[in-house]
């Protein structure tokens, strides 16, 4: 019960935060672009290269974890329990003596997979449904919008929980549940963006030129809608991983011996005072991932928004 209440709080706060973040980002961009373009290019390039490097490392960790960490993530060592970070164990060991570094590397695949799947599917569904609702006749828009509003009335976590309860336990079910729970926000944003773009600008100009509406929408509306959603996706990536971790913690997703960042964070929660490294390193990895994704997504988004990359 407490879990749900907590999540409800988070649920109502997050979209607001995102919205203001987006707005400030846009305004600063508008005011700064012409002024600090030259100074910013160098910084942006460095950030892009660093972000790409981190993402490549993460991809290697996710696909070929043995290249980076040779050991087995589930081997326990009773004599070496809760060891602090050292040369032998750079991230320390956990309560069963497992090497945290090995587990973090091996967990990358599962965690990133959930995040990628949730965000990727939500993006596609959001663009399609949102653009459809934004451009469709009023009755179809009303149907889509009401369904979305009903789903949004429930906390995201509860929706994910409900889906898992229906589909059944397992990592796949958790990923699916998390995906379903985040989709409404994407559809909403996509719909608003499409609505705004349909009344004026290049879309209407194309209609006047005689371009078929579907083609005009594909050319002038869908890319802009996608650009608007990329910002949401970058922020949503991290929270999707955390939400999946929460479900795993309840025993609905990945089961304990398997390494997964969210699960590791919750496992280490009770040892935070004595062995901080168990929770901190997976959390740090998550943070680094999100920052890297942001660094790479920013130029992409700018390109999508106006070709001024």
């Amino acid at each position: 019960m407490t879990n749900i209440v907590e999540n409800k709080g988070g649920r109502t706060q997050r979209p607001l935060k995102q919205r203001t973040a987006k707005r400030t980002q846009r305004t600063t961009k508008r005011t700064q672009r012409p002024t600090k373009r030259t100074q910013r290019t160098l910084g942006a390039t460095i950030a892009l290269i660093l972000g790409l490097a981190v993402l490549i490392l993460l991809a290697i960790a996710a696909l070929f974890p043995h290249v980076i960490a040779h050991g087995d993530p589930t081997t326990t060592d009773a004599r070496n329990v809760l060891a602090a970070p050292s040369l032998a164990h750079p991230f320390g060991t956990d309560q069963s003596g497992r090497d945290v570094f090995t587990r973090v590397i091996h967990g990358a695949g599962t965690s990133l997979g959930v995040g990628l799947r949730a965000v990727g599917i939500a993006l596609v569904v959001g663009v399609v449904l949102g653009a459809l609702a934004g451009l469709a006749p009023r009755w179809l828009d009303a149907i889509i919008s009401r369904i979305i509003e009903v789903v949004m009335a429930f906390p995201e976590f509860l929706v994910a929980l409900l889906v898992v309860a229906i589909v059944g336990k397992g990592p796949g079910a958790v990923a699916f549940g998390v995906t379903i729970s985040v989709i409404p926000a994407y559809v909403r944003l996509a719909r608003v963006t499409a609505r705004r773009l349909r009344v004026a600008g290049p879309f209407e100009a194309a209609l006047i030129l005689g371009v078929r509406p579907a083609r005009a929408a594909l050319r002038h509306i869908v890319p802009n809608v996608a650009a608007a959603l990329v910002g949401l996706a970058v922020v949503g990536f991290g929270s999707a991983i955390v939400a999946a971790a929460g479900l795993s913690f309840l025993g609905l997703g990945v089961q304990p011996p398997t390494p997964e960042w969210g699960l590791m964070m919750s496992e280490g929660k009770n040892q935070l005072a004595t062995a901080w490294w168990i929770s901190v390193f997976p959390g740090l990895m998550l943070a680094v991932t999100v920052v890297a994704v942001t660094a790479v997504a920013r130029p992409l988004q700018r390109f999508l928004e106006g070709g001024r990359a």
Binding site: L207, G210, G307
Partner: protein, 615 residues
Amino acid sequence: MSESTALTGAPLLEVRGLHVQINGADIVENLSFSLAAGQCVGIVGESGAGKSMTGRALLGLLPDRAVARADALILDDMDLYVGGSPRPEREWLGVRGRKIALVAQDALVSLDPLRTVGAEVGEPLRIHGLVEARAGGQGRVAAPSQPSAQVPAPSFRQKWCRYSKNDVSTAFFVDLRMRDQVTGLLARVHIPEPERRAKQYPHQLSGGLRQRALIASGLAAQPQVLIADEPTTALDATVQAKVLDLLGEIKREGTGIVLISHDLHVVRKLADHVIVMRGGAVVEQGPASQVLGAPTHPYTRELLASHPDGRPILSDSRRPGDREVLRGTGLTARFALPGGGSVTAASNVDIVVHEGETVGLVGESGSGKSTITRILLGLHQPEAGAVTFLGQPWNGQPRNGQVWNGVPGGGPAGAGSVDEAGNVGGAGSRGNRRKSVTERERRARRGDIQLIAQDAHSAMNKRWRVDRIIAEGLRPGEYANAAAKAARVRELMDAVALGPELAGRRPHELSGGQRQRVAIARALAARPKILLCDEPVSALDVTAAAQVVELLAKLQAEHGLAMVFISHDLAVVGQLAHTLVVLKDGVVVERGEAAHVLSHPEHPYTQELLAASIA
């Protein structure tokens, strides 16, 4: 204070050798002038000439990346540029608004949408501690003679307190203590019902009233110098004239005005001394009568010549034909208001356009021009009335019992003008009312009616290159391969005088005039029979506007295009239009041959428009 200065004749503001650089590029070069009380200096030039940067340099409001130098910038015996560079920001605080104030261009953007007009106007009073009830209590404003030492910048605590304690409401609503002062200021700029207006928000005011409120806010702390940066650009011609009258009145009362504008008309009405700028450099300056009456520099002459005079251009080769292209009959449009009720944007408007003819649609904002454009384009369905294109139904529905199928040129009859087609009766009638034309029926003919909008930039896909933008207008299937397409695009670019090197640019890399040309090329790509031009040059510089108008005239002469030219400016419309339709509040108040309407306007509204634009 200003009176005494006026008596002594010493200049209020003296600028010597002002330079502004941004990233090493000269934005303003060696500008010098002086301004006496009750005088007006006009700075004229195209966008990018450095006018606004000059204004900002005078206010110490340059962006961070700009570097400003001046041999001297003396405002009322106080040098604001010590040792050649501007004083530190904190020292400007007591000067800005109090001694030198700004009236910005776009009143809707410049006024805070969350605050009442009264709070906005009263802000300078509060900031400079001029609220009468507590005058003398706050020592924030220094004595004018010893500025640097005695202008204490408000500490953080002071600033915070200003918006915290009991002052919190004054940031958003009219402070009771200064209500009379605010009302007086609004009355001074001739805002009717100042008490009521003070409590309203910017969006509840018309453009003219908003601009007045902005001027009132600039005047609030009784500055000696007012910098007006394009104060009338966004306004209708008649409103513009009234705002200029107001500025003239302020000038006569002893305030020095620096008027920045691209519009020579505006400057001519107000300025005593004119500075013509181009690319940051002063091209010519001197007394207004001399610069505008007998310009010596070719650029000044070019500027003066580009100014629309309402005389038709290429009138010999642009001859209207007999064939009717577009006919709108009894067009009526109403929009529901949120609070119930409705506003009529167009009421029973008739419009006929022949081949090779330009119909000028004139009126101020809110007169229904844009609604009629949208109806003619088939983007908005009229509540009543119909549009036929080359005799075929295009938009809306005919009235009961009227037939328009298969009768070329015989559109449906409007109210009061029953024609023979309407009386044929059952000939081709299916007895019941024909359904209104659908978008699907229009699609094949879409390319025939094209729009040139005012804001070309927002109507273009920002990530596309120019060649792709233009190619979008080509009819699908018209060109077999990419090479033929590219050749046609090059031909179109050539037709609108765009160099081939621009093909790879994106819209934001073009100037306003170039963008409008791209829009015209895109429209031409669809091989239209008629062009609807909705204020196509209102957002452009005079010279760019003149070129675009010339281009449109040339295209009409070459291709016999029909055109509807919509504008609030009779001086521009007069250059192109054969026929004029004058709209006011959605009703046609006058129509006729352009030359006749311009020389003998009958309706008082037309006379007013004429006086405001071609003076």
